[in-house]
Structure formats: structure tokens, C-alpha cells
Symmetry: C2
Subunit: 159 residues, 2 copies
DNA sequence: ATGGTTGCAAACCTTTTGCATCGGG
DNA sequence: CCCGATGCAAAAGGTTTGCAACCAT
């Protein structure tokens, strides 16, 4: 019934705790559906969209309605265990936030692959740049579009 | 009939040339509607959305259909005189690209205001960060969310 | 004359919502 | 038992598309 839930379960303990505490705090209920959706989301692709999530959820329990998935995803966003991501002009994708490991994205416009990275001096430079405008930064989203290593190599060999 | 078209017309010469050259190159036609939509877009708010653009276009020529505006906006995006912008989770907005003056955005989560800025060392830091992953950057989108100066002051005085 | 363009309405896609029923605490 | 949660279908945005008439070249 549940697939691949136990093996990695410890890795997502933090997210689950945050989610269930948020439910409690808001007077919301811990239902079977929400558990299935949470498990599925945490074990899914890193950049999944809601449609794909619905599909996978229904592989586990076909009776779960799409509105339930949407409603649950909105709770994920509210309590901060997921964040929205728009890689290109595509539909929104969801990304689990693992701990506090913030990262930015390199997006290859050739093959569509993405690389997640974190660069400390870049973070610092952003804080400095923002404060020059009297702005107090809280979070940010940086997407760098270009060509990944593989696609550069492929272009070179084909030339 | 046409309002505020002549005064600033020189400021947008580059965009217009790019657009009309793109039309030619693609075998597309220079119609009245496209001219009105282009004028309106270039003179509109910097972060206009399509609905607002349709409204303004229809103040000039109420017979222009919404699909024509959408289709024309898509041409703007294709030929590069406009770019998409999603400030928060809101609907997409359009931003005219004036020359090559790239900029990033500071977005205040209190009042929703945005500041456009450009910071050279930030640009350099991004190129360095990308190249560490063998990635060849072409363009990027940086949005920093936080609190603007005014909202910080307001919060201080209210406390 | 020809092939792209337009306006209209309908279709589309993603997300939200109203409602009667269900179920967790 | 109560109130929130669910599934369904419908509604609600925002954007695209099919089509017959239109118009720029």
C-alpha cells in the first residue's frame, strides 16, 4: 500500500514534525489523506508539480480527490515545509524545504535540467546590495539561466 | 485618439525597431492593432499585467479583442522587448526591457512596493558562482523579498 | 489574390469553492 | 457529538484556440 515510506522516514522527520505541529496549532486534523499526501510529497521528485503529485498520491490511494491535494499543498506552503518554484514560464512546481538549506537554481535552457547551489559570498553580496537601498532582506529567489556543462560539451563536439 | 504617444516617442525607438524588425523577419504584418498595443505597452506602468493592458488599449480603441492583446504580448516576449515578471504568487506581469538595462527587484512583503536596482558586484558574484558548476550563465532573475525603508520606519514608530 | 490577422466565443488548464457527507478528537 | 475534512462537480481566473470575416502586402 505505502511504498518507499519506511526506508527514508528519518530523513524527513523535521518536515513531518513541522507539519503536524502546524496542524495542531491551527486546530486542523491529522487525517489519513494528509499523511499519504505528505509522505508522497516528501519522497517525490524535488521539483514536482501538483498534477504529478495528484497522480502519485492516487497510485497509493485512488480515492483521494484533487481538491484535497491542493488544500494540503497549501498547508505545506503555509507551514513552510514546501516552497513554490517557477523554473521557466511553466506551471508552478513545489519543492520540499529540507531543513534550512536554502539554495538557488541554475537552469539550463538547452536541456531543462536544474542545478541547485549555494554560494555564501553571493548571499552576502545580496544583503549588501539590498541594504544600500534601505531594504531589509528576508528571503530571495535567484534563478540563473544559461547552458549547463553537458550541453556546452555537446555543442562543442557537434560543431 | 492616441494619447501620450508623441512626447516620449524617441525614448522607445529601440523597442519599436526591434518589434517591427521581428515582424518583418517572421513574415508577420504591421497592423493598426499591434501599433496601438505596442504604444500602450511602452507607455504603461512598468509592471503592468495583461488585464490592465487590455483595459488601456481599449480606452484607445475599444474594438480591439483581448486575444489580439494576448497574441501581441506573446510577440513582445518572443522578440525580447518585454519580459515576464512574477512579483509574488500573483498573476504574471509584463515589464518592458529598456535597452539592455538589466536590473533585479527588491519586493516589500509589507506594502507590495518594488525597487529596481542594479549592482555590479552582485552580477560578477553570480557569474563566478555559476562557473564553479561549469555553468555558462546567460541571464538571471533575482528577487529579494523583505521590508522596504518606509515599512521599517512605520513599524518602528508604531512600536 | 493570398496568407497572415482579427474579434468572438468556446475551449483549456490550473486552482478554488459550495455543498452534502464523512470522520477525527 | 461537533466541527473540520473530504470528494465531487461546478466555478473561477487567466490564457489559448478554432473559425469565418477581414485586411496588409
Amino acid at each position: 500500500m505505502r511504498e518507499a515510506a519506511e526506508p527514508k522516514s528519518d530523513a524527513f522527520r523535521v518536515q513531518k514534525e513541522i507539519f503536524y505541529e502546524y496542524l495542531d496549532k491551527q486546530g486542523l486534523k491529522r487525517t489519513q489523506q494528509r499523511e499519504v499526501i505528505l509522505e508522497t510529497f516528501l519522497h517525490a521528485d524535488h521539483h514536482i508539480n501538483v498534477d504529478q503529485l495528484i497522480e502519485r498520491v492516487r497510485q497509493i490511494d485512488p480515492t483521494i480527490g484533487q481538491s484535497t491535494v491542493y488544500r494540503t499543498v497549501n498547508i505545506f506552503l503555509e507551514c513552510g515545509i514546501a516552497q513554490e518554484l517557477r523554473l521557466t514560464d511553466e506551471t508552478r512546481r513545489l519543492e520540499p524545504i529540507i531543513g534550512n538549506r536554502h539554495h538557488d537554481h541554475l537552469i539550463c535552457t538547452e536541456c531543462g535540467s536544474t542545478i541547485e547551489f549555494f554560494n555564501c559570498s553571493l548571499e552576502v553580496a545580496q544583503i549588501i546590495a539590498a541594504s544600500k537601498h534601505g531594504f531589509k532582506p528576508a528571503r530571495h529567489s535567484l534563478k540563473i539561466y544559461g547552458t549547463c556543462r553537458n550541453c556546452q560539451l555537446r555543442a562543442d563536439t557537434q560543431r
